[in-house]
């Protein structure tokens, strides 16, 4: 098991194969790669196919809603089909982040991590699944009674905004743990940027009151500024996670110990003391 592995080959595919077989953090990297891939697929679907982003105006009359649903029917339904699949991979991102939180030097780190995971997974349930169901249902039968079409239309965009509680708590948990963490898995400044996300989630609430203007669900403040902040934050978060995985001192179980014999900076003797359960 401690046989030293071959050196990293140069070919692109060969490199991936090497990491798959020998990288001690292979499971973490698999989870990390779900972030750029799944978020990009989702973002592209949201912006080009499903018309969730940027959202159409809330002031549409029933006839206009029907017209909207009729003209984009196929796009919406195919887009949400793709979304439904890529959504599952967000769990990986949440699991990875939750797990990294558990590695922090914070009181009750494990509970914080679990809380984060549960909060964020719940968010995808209402925000992405419910809105996907209702809009694709509405687009499936545009000949439905316009009153019900409008109902589904409202449910879609309001439940899409209705995730704010989940993400609010998710980023609040993140803020608190990063700012109290002593191990510096994540840089402190990133903890503050989580406050941006937290605050913008808070501000979406105006979309539930107004139908028109900057605070409606398609408004400058409630949608555009929030989304720009969110996407900016999302990019920072992927980068920060990348470095966090590099930095994190994984507990040395059998798997990682067997593999880290090859990685130059690993220290097997420390690893051994950290893994009493490995046999």
């Amino acid at each position: 098991m401690t046989a030293s592995p071959p050196p990293i080959p140069s070919g692109y595919l060969a490199k991936i194969a090497w990491h798959w077989r020998h990288n001690p953090k292979a499971d973490l990297w698999i989870a990390w790669f779900s972030i750029p891939i799944a978020y990009n697929i989702m973002g592209i679907c949201y912006f080009t196919l499903t018309h969730m982003m940027p959202p159409p105006t809330a002031t549409k009359s029933q006839a206009e809603v029907v017209e909207f649903l009729t003209s984009f029917s196929d796009q919406i339904r195919v887009g949400f089909g793709v979304m439904m699949i890529s959504l599952g991979f967000l769990v990986w991102a949440n699991g990875l982040i939750g797990w990294l939180i558990m590695r922090m030097q914070v009181p009750y780190a494990k509970a914080w991590g679990l809380a984060y995971m549960v909060a964020m997974c719940g968010g995808s349930l209402t925000g992405a699944y419910m809105s996907g169901f209702t809009l694709s249902l509405a687009a499936m039968r545009p000949d439905r009674d316009p009153e019900y079409s409008q109902l589904l239309y409202d449910v879609t965009y309001l439940s899409f905004d209705g995730t704010m509680g989940f993400f609010l708590f998710g980023s609040l948990i993140w803020t608190v743990v990063i700012l109290t963490d002593k191990s510096r898995i994540f840089p402190k400044w990133f903890g503050y940027t989580c406050i941006w996300n937290f605050t913008t989630e808070f501000l979406v609430s105006t979309a539930m009151i107004t139908q028109d203007g900057p605070f409606a669900w398609d408004g400058t403040i409630a949608f555009y500024i929030d989304t720009v902040v969110y996407i900016f934050w999302q990019i920072i978060y992927a980068i920060v996670l990348f470095y966090a995985i590099r930095r994190v001192d994984v507990p040395m179980d059998g798997f990682r110990r067997a593999r880290s014999g090859n990685v130059p900076q690993a220290q097997p003797e420390i690893g051994a003391s950290l893994a009493p359960q490995a046999t």
Binding site: L179, T180, K182, P187, K188, W189, F190, G191, Y192, T193, I195, W196, T199, T200, F202, L203, T206, I209, T210, G213, P214, F215, T220, I221, I225, V229
Partner: protein, 203 residues
């Protein structure tokens, strides 16, 4: 702790060991990135406000008359004073006069509390008069901006509390953390200066 092991080559006093265990070298570093970013996010809100104000200027002007400038002036002076006090607290901390620093921080928190109370009173008066979030576009902006700002004030109060704890704790106190906390509070102040101009004074 390696320091507590008897064969450790380093002789460490009890206090030093405690310090290493508890002290986190400036847990608030990097706050500048947050502050500058926040300035720009608020800047985008301000520009949105200006656009809508330009498009619906009659309505905005009419509603603006309803706000009492007295409250605005009072709140501005309170926050300016709080900024002054917390800046003085930092000077005291740098000079090593921790008692004075603690007192000044407490006074700053008093100013902050005054601001919160006065802001809430103003809100209650306006709501009693029938001007709510849904009244018109101006009041949407008014409640939104002041609401976001008061959220920052509350976070700022937490920062001040951290500053106070910092000052009172002889083991962990350090100037960097204190400056970070104070910087957050100054940001709350300077955002209010612009909100005051946009909401109460603009014509």
């Amino acid at each position: 702790m390696a320091s507590k092991s008897p064969d450790s080559p380093l002789e460490m006093s009890e206090a030093e060991a405690a310090r290493i265990e508890r002290h986190d070298e400036n847990p608030l570093d990097g706050i500048w990135i947050f502050i500058v970013g926040d300035l720009f996010i608020f800047g985008s809100y301000f520009v949105t406000y200006a656009l809508w104000r330009h498009w619906y200027s009659e309505e905005f002007i009419a509603s603006q008359q309803v706000l009492s400038q007295g409250f605005g002036i009072f709140n501005t002076l309170v926050l300016l004073a709080s900024s002054w006090f917390v800046a003085a607290a930092i000077r005291a901390q740098r000079a090593g006069d921790y008692d004075a620093a603690g007192r000044l921080t407490l006074l700053t928190m008093g100013w902050g509390l005054t601001f919160v109370v006065s802001k809430l009173t103003e809100w209650v008066i306006k709501i009693r008069e029938g001007y709510t979030f849904t009244s018109d576009m101006f009041f949407q902006f008014y409640y939104f901006m002041t609401g976001v700002h008061i959220l920052h004030v509350l976070f700022g109060m937490l920062a001040l509390l951290r500053l106070y704890v910092e000052v009172k704790d002889p083991v962990c106190r350090n100037n960097d953390t204190a400056e970070s906390c104070a910087a957050f509070w100054h940001m709350v102040d300077l955002l209010w200066l612009v909100i005051f101009a946009l909401m109460y004074l603009m014509r």
